[in-house]
């Protein structure tokens, strides 16, 4: 019973959104507004259940974790944002978070995005038993990375053999990469449509397995 009503309601809202394809209409607008409210409400409820209660309120009530008052008060300062006179206080929690988050991620980005990628770009061109497609691939990969980096290099004009040709190859490689992204993006959007059609035809109407 619970599930059946649920699936009918779900099907109704799915069709409400698709009605937008024909024309913008009040039912679509209603669905669009509802989702904003529900998702924020859901996030509030879950955050309370999973963070605020077990990590802040319960330990505080148990009485021996007074140090947790510090983050609690710092968090409350966020709310001063709505009181114009003391809204500058909200800078402290934002500042605390931004500063520390930036600091924590700095060395990690350096390692994962820079050093590790540099390491990955240094592959042997050929080792015995490699099919020719892989050898060609490795050459394309190394030269391509180099060329694409040249394209994003702003301190030298794109002229001459190295920078001129380099940036030209670079943009071609970038376009091939974007072509792949493009194809995959289209694929992804269609997959999502497929998911909904499976819901409508299968879960709702039971026309397909």
């Amino acid at each position: 019973m619970y599930d059946t009503i649920g699936i009918w309601v779900g099907a109704f809202f799915t069709l409400a959104i698709y009605s937008f394809l024909y024309k913008e209409n009040p039912i679509y607008r209603l669905a669009e507004h509802l989702v904003v409210g529900i998702s924020s409400g859901y996030a509030m409820a879950v955050t309370y259940q999973i963070t605020v209660k077990p990590r802040l309120i319960d330990p505080l009530l148990s009485g021996n974790h007074w140090i947790l008052l510090i983050p609690g008060i710092l968090g409350l300062l966020y709310i001063t944002r709505f009181i114009p006179k003391i809204s500058w206080l909200s800078r402290y929690p934002i500042g605390f978070y931004m500063g520390t988050a930036m600091g924590v991620s700095f060395p990690l980005i350096m390692k994962a995005n820079v050093l590790r990628q540099l390491e990955g770009a240094m592959v042997p061109l050929y080792s015995s038993g490699m099919p020719w497609t892989e050898v060609l691939g490795n050459i394309v990969m190394i030269l391509g990375t180099l060329a694409a980096l040249i394209y994003f290099f702003f301190s030298k004009p794109h002229k001459g053999l190295f920078f001129g040709t380099g940036s030209k190859i670079g943009i071609w490689v970038i376009m091939l990469g974007f072509g792949a992204t493009f194809g995959f993006t289209i694929m992804g959007r269609i997959s999502l449509l497929i998911g909904r059609i499976q819901y409508l035809l299968g879960d709702w109407l039971h026309l397909i397995e």
Binding site: L118, A121, P124, L146, L149, F154, S155, I174, T181
Partner: protein
């Protein structure tokens, strides 16, 4: 059969269960003699020898490197139990079970239930365990070392060097920029296109639409876009072409309004500023698109700028714009949206080009400095890759291994 000590950590059995089947299989095939021995009540297993404990490097003083001597005869043993206690205490804690095939060296202290305190002296003893869970204890050994935390992690030197190099380079160029030293930046094709597109709209006497993306002010792309908006608005003010700037984020809206007003002021035409040209549309993504598309179809702007952060709506905007016949210039760092812009717009600023264009147009010294610093780092990376390419070729031709050496230079271990 089950004794008290094994009930306490009930989980142990579990760990042993699968190993059990393996160990039994091995026994059957290789050492039938050992199995016979086990059946006897006073069966005898060789106990492990002395334990060596060292402080582990690069830790917070909460890990010890423990190794022990393997017994002479390993028949019938399928695991070792490692016990630890603080010197002078009564109870032993079972801290680790090591399957017989595993190395006889391990790092103690990973278990959050039995942490190692820095500066505390522990003693260890190890037992050989039979299939049935009987234990044969080796000697009690006092740890030869206490755990201590180190001040510097030696495994992270490469990251440290890279970080310092990066920070130094950025600050070097910051300083240079602040002292007012002019630095070369190559012209970006998109900027020419922007100027030309404004000119085109002026000739046609039609408005210009500027979409500053749909993200918040915290997005680098939005910040870059607003800088460009300032320059575009200044140009527009001189020509007196109408400008339309619809916004999705309320904060971006207030900043955008400020920027445009300021630009008209700088152009000497504060009177020409139309307060209705910059406005807030709606926060909802698709409703925003519907709104902007409506504007495009009604006002038929000659030029559309889409600069900033875009998500799925990019396609809808650019499609409608392309149908309305406008010249479209896009720029974003959202890689998934770039292909849509490239195929539907006349000119697209790709990724970092957007930041560069903003630094170029904004002429704020520190931004240019930062860009220069990043360029210097890219040059270093490019140097390394070129070297790797050359070394790779040499390796193939001369059958050497210098590429590995270069790789080791930048490679950081997966485990720290």
């Amino acid at each position: 059969m089950r004794k008290n000590w094994i009930v306490v950590p009930a989980l142990m059995i579990l760990l042993l269960l699968p190993a059990l089947s393996v160990a039994q299989g091995v026994d059957e095939i290789l050492t039938p003699a050992a199995e016979e021995q086990l059946e006897e009540p006073d069966s005898w297993l060789d106990a492990p020898g002395a334990v060596t404990v060292q402080d582990k490097d690069n830790d917070a003083g909460d890990q010890l490197l423990v190794s022990f001597e393997q017994p002479l005869y390993t028949d019938g043993i399928f695991a070792y139990n490692v016990y630890r206690r603080i010197v002078g205490e009564e109870n032993w804690n079972l801290v680790k079970v090591i399957p017989a095939d595993d190395p006889r060296e391990f790092i103690d202290g990973y278990d959050p239930e039995y942490p190692i305190e820095p500066g505390v002296l522990y003693e260890y003893r190890i037992a050989s365990v039979t299939v049935d869970g009987e234990e044969y204890f080796g000697p009690v050994c006092e740890a030869g070392a206490v755990s201590a935390g180190e001040i510097y992690h030696t495994g992270k030197t490469r990251v440290l060097i890279a970080s310092i190099l990066f920070i130094v380079l950025i600050f070097y160029y910051f300083g240079k920029a602040q002292r007012g030293i002019k630095m070369y930046m190559r012209p970006i094709a998109g900027i020419e296109a922007i100027d030309e597109a404004i000119g085109r709209a002026t000739e046609m006497g039609k408005p210009i639409l500027y979409v500053p993306g749909i993200s918040s002010i915290a997005d680098v792309a939005t910040i870059a876009s607003l800088t460009i908006l300032g320059r575009v608005a200044k140009k527009i003010a001189q020509y007196q072409t109408p400008l339309i700037v619809p916004n999705r984020d309320p904060i971006v809206f207030t900043v955008a309004e400020e920027v445009v007003k300021q630009a008209y002021l700088e152009a000497g035409r504060p009177d020409a500023f139309d307060p209705d040209s910059v406005f807030f549309l709606t926060t909802s993504q698709f409703a925003y698109v519907a709104g902007v598309n409506g504007i495009m179809m009604r006002e038929k702007p000659a030029t559309n700028f889409y600069l900033g952060m875009f998500y799925a709506e990019s396609l809808l905007l650019a499609e409608t714009g392309s149908l309305s016949g406008a010249i479209q210039i896009a720029g974003t760092d959202a890689v998934t949206q770039l292909p849509f812009f490239i195929t539907t717009c006349d000119y697209t600023l790709i990724g970092e080009e957007l930041y560069a264009a903003s630094a170029y147009l904004g002429r704020e010294p520190k931004q240019i400095g930062a860009l220069k610093g990043q360029d210097a780092c890219k040059a270093i990376i490019m140097g390394f890759i070129t070297l790797a390419l050359v070394f790779g070729i040499i390796d193939v031709v001369a059958n050497t291994h210098i590429l590995d050496w270069l790789r080791d230079l930048v490679a950081s271990p997966i485990m720290e």
